[in-house]
């Protein structure tokens, strides 16, 4: 991944420029939690990008958007595109067996390009990348057995080890504490709990709501809503079934059948009425796919609708909308596929 920075460092932009740009880039709501630290001049000199795995992944995903004016002029951007396509498939869940031959060619392609363009960067990891199609064939989707969450679990143990300040027999302390924790979790009435959590509550009156939305609501829930002083609860964020829904975030609601083109909507408002969650959404048109930025171009066409969280099936994570050259872009994290 660092090779891209170097290639761009060769011309077109100075190291300082890179630093400025990564410092000033505005990450979307969902990506801010994984916001990568800015790439400093020092890092570029050392050929090393700091950050955790998820931060690097975020940077990798948004790279063409951050450097949208430069990428086309770079030779090594070809490699990025191949790797990106491969990675999208590797991280997909569920996957399709019919993708495997294509992934194989992509992987070979990637390795050849690496050898060709950046031979000094061919580390054993490049070789490992080429093995993924085979691994998937044998073991299933890699996200099922990647280390991301396990590494997250390390944090708990490290915290305890530091907190207890007892370094005599750490294994014993940790094992004991883990067992105690297990006791606690099991003494809760439910081990795995689905919860609803909402933030940013505001009460609003019907007369404050936009006319179009009002008619929609009345159509769905009947006339009693039309009364002037009827109030609704409005939220800015909702966690339902472990999925975060945020106002103004974009979600995939369906896939166009043959080509797996995702259809998006954008949440305008989150309401609660009669103990039901209601999303007022704006269905977006998927205008096309930009290979250069590796994201979908979308545009709004004012088709409003009402959706409840239970109707969502496909891809549950919220996505951020970015704007480049007056185009609205949605950057997907992995390739989606629809069950027949």
């Amino acid at each position: 991944m660092a090779m891209l920075k170097e290639a761009s460092g060769l011309r077109l932009i100075t190291f300082n420029g890179i630093q400025n740009r990564t410092e000033n880039f505005v990450y979307g709501e969902f990506d801010t939690s994984n916001k990568p630290p800015p790439i400093l001049v020092k890092n570029l000199n050392n050929n090393y990008i700091v950050g955790s795995a998820s931060q690097k992944y975020c940077l990798f995903r948004l790279f063409p958007i951050i450097f949208s004016d430069l990428v086309e002029k770079l030779q090594s951007f070809k490699i990025y595109l191949v790797l990106r396509e491969l990675l999208d498939m590797i991280l997909a869940f569920p996957q399709r067996k019919s993708w495997l031959p294509f992934m194989e060619t992509l992987a070979i392609n990637f390795q050849c390009m690496m050898v060709d363009l950046l031979p000094e960067k061919v580390t054993p990891k490049i070789h490992y990348v080429t093995e993924y199609p085979k691994i998937i064939e044998e073991n299933g989707p890699p996200v099922r057995f990647w280390c991301m969450r396990y590494e997250g679990a390390h944090l708990y143990f490290k915290q305890i080890a530091l907190q207890s300040n007892n370094f005599k027999n750490i294994p014993k302390t940790l094992a004991q504490r883990q067992q105690l924790r297990q006791c606690l979790l099991l003494s809760n009435c439910q081990f795995l709990k689905t919860s609803e959590e909402a933030r940013g509550v505001k009460q609003i009156h019907m007369y404050q709501i936009d006319f179009k939305i009002k008619t929609l609501l009345i159509q769905r829930f009947g006339q009693q809503l039309a009364q002037f002083d009827q109030t609704l609860l409005r939220f800015s964020e909702l966690i339902y079934n472990h999925i975060i829904y945020k106002q103004y975030a974009v979600y995939v609601y369906d896939l166009e059948h043959v080509e797996d083109i995702p259809l998006f909507f954008r949440i305008l408002y989150i309401f609660k009425y009669n103990q039901q969650w209601i999303f007022i959404v704006d269905f977006l048109n998927t205008d096309g796919f930009s290979t250069k930025l590796w994201s979908y171009k979308v545009s709004s066409c004012d088709r409003l609708g009402i959706v409840s969280p239970n109707d969502l099936k496909y891809f549950h994570k919220g996505l951020d909308l970015y704007e480049v050259d007056h185009l609205h872009l949605v950057n997907l994290t992995s390739r989606l596929t629809k069950q027949n």
Binding site: M1, A2, M3, N47, A53, Y57, L87, I90, F93, P94, Q95, R96, K97, I108, Q111, C112, P119, V122, T123, P124, I126, H127, Y128, E131, Y132, I135, I136, E137, E138, N139, G140, P141, R144, W146, C147, R149, A153, H154, Y156, L162, Q163, F167, I170, P171, A175, Q178, L180, R181, Q182, C183, L184, L185, L186, S187, Q190, F191, L192, H242, Q339, N340
Partner: protein
Amino acid sequence: MSSKTFLCKLCNTNRSFNKFHDYFRHITLYHADEPNFQLTCDLSNSCGVTYKKFTSYKMHIHRHHHFLLNSSFNQQENNDLDDIDQLSIQQPDTTSVDPVTVDNTDENIIYANINNDDFANQWDISSTNILREDKQINLIAVQQLYTRFLLEMREQHILPQTVIQSITTYIVNLLDIVVDLVEEQAKKKNTSQQPSTAVNVSVNDIRTTIKDIEQAIVFSTRNEYQFLQSCKKFFNYTPPIENLLSSNQMKKEYSYHISIKQSLKEILEKGEMLPFLIENIRDQINATQCDPDLIFSFRDCIKGKKIHKQSFLIQLYVDDIGVTNPIGPKKGQHKLTMVYFMLEDVPDPFRSMLQCIHLAAICYSKYLDNDEKIRKFYDPIVKELNDLQLTGLTINTFNSQLLFSFSAIAADNLAAHSVAGFQQTFSSGNFCRRCLVTYENRLIPLTDVHFIQRTYSQHEKCLQLLKNKPYIKSVFGVVGPSPLNDLHNFDPTNSFPGDAMHDFFEGN
């Protein structure tokens, strides 16, 4: 005893006390947190030790002169229970578990002030109600509730043991005050209106109950051992199993195991877990039957075909972590080898939760320096997993046998290579655990070559060769047998799928 007077040497005014417990309380309240605390115990001739810390002095008093404190209690308690002096007897009792911190004693003083105040405030009525309710539950329930509370404090909010002790102290203090309040209130009522209401709980009763509760609380959390005991009693706590790794008697090297079977059993006995798992598997099977092209999990792949359809998948994870001790003589990094396991069939919304990952074994990495120790470390895991795969698990809430099968080991490249018995360097020779690529060959475009995959039989041959000719260090990157070789469904060349996180995102 009462003939003797106790003189406080720490006060400038040389206050004297008639009873020892008064004196002790005075010390606790006013002098415990003095920086230059120094006290010589002159209670009996054999004493005469000087204490520079209040804690040690307190310990000494409780160990050697406990009868003084106790006898004064008894006297008091027998004398007159409705007396105002009552307030004072409680104090030494509570301070007996007091880890002496500055704010703690401050708090005590504040409490004392409140007690001395003439209060006619509002919040005592509600507290009496609670107390009456408390009386109906038995003490064990109180103890259980309290242990649960402490457990939550410790494990959810990760507080150290000392904080727990001060929590106990505060709660005991709080209870004391509640009693005092009740008493005060009762007295007031008595003076104002002689024939009181129908339901009448005597102050004595309340006092004894509270006393019992306090004792139970203090007892169950006096030290780590007691706490663990009460966890065992109420929450089914099972201590980790200690396992001796070293063979010589000189230095004892332990690893700690947590029975996979036991933890699985406990989790699955939670009512909602099994339906979740079964439903999730059924959904996936249905989906793949409609559309055989989809891959959801291990089951839909080549290796997964062999396993039993009804079994749950268990995944292992091995990694080293470093914990740094910033200060002290044991300064430096402590490397630990951790083995986690996880049920693969947990439905997607919960899969990312950390509580789905369970610890299986833990050990200092430096202990695992020879083959024998490594084998000893992994043996219990292998044994248990084999048992689970062959005989399954019976649990109370489900009537048939549950089967499990081992799917794969997730690990970063280094850990995978060390467990599988491959070379642990990635900058020379055969660095891949799945095929026979060499470091020099990595530069050849894949369009020109095809690397031979490692297979089980080929790996066996390598191991045989290594065994026969001990002077050879490695054959095709293989350095030795894997400690997990006895595990069913395990194949060193195949059970370590690459880790997408490390291969794509880590490093540069």
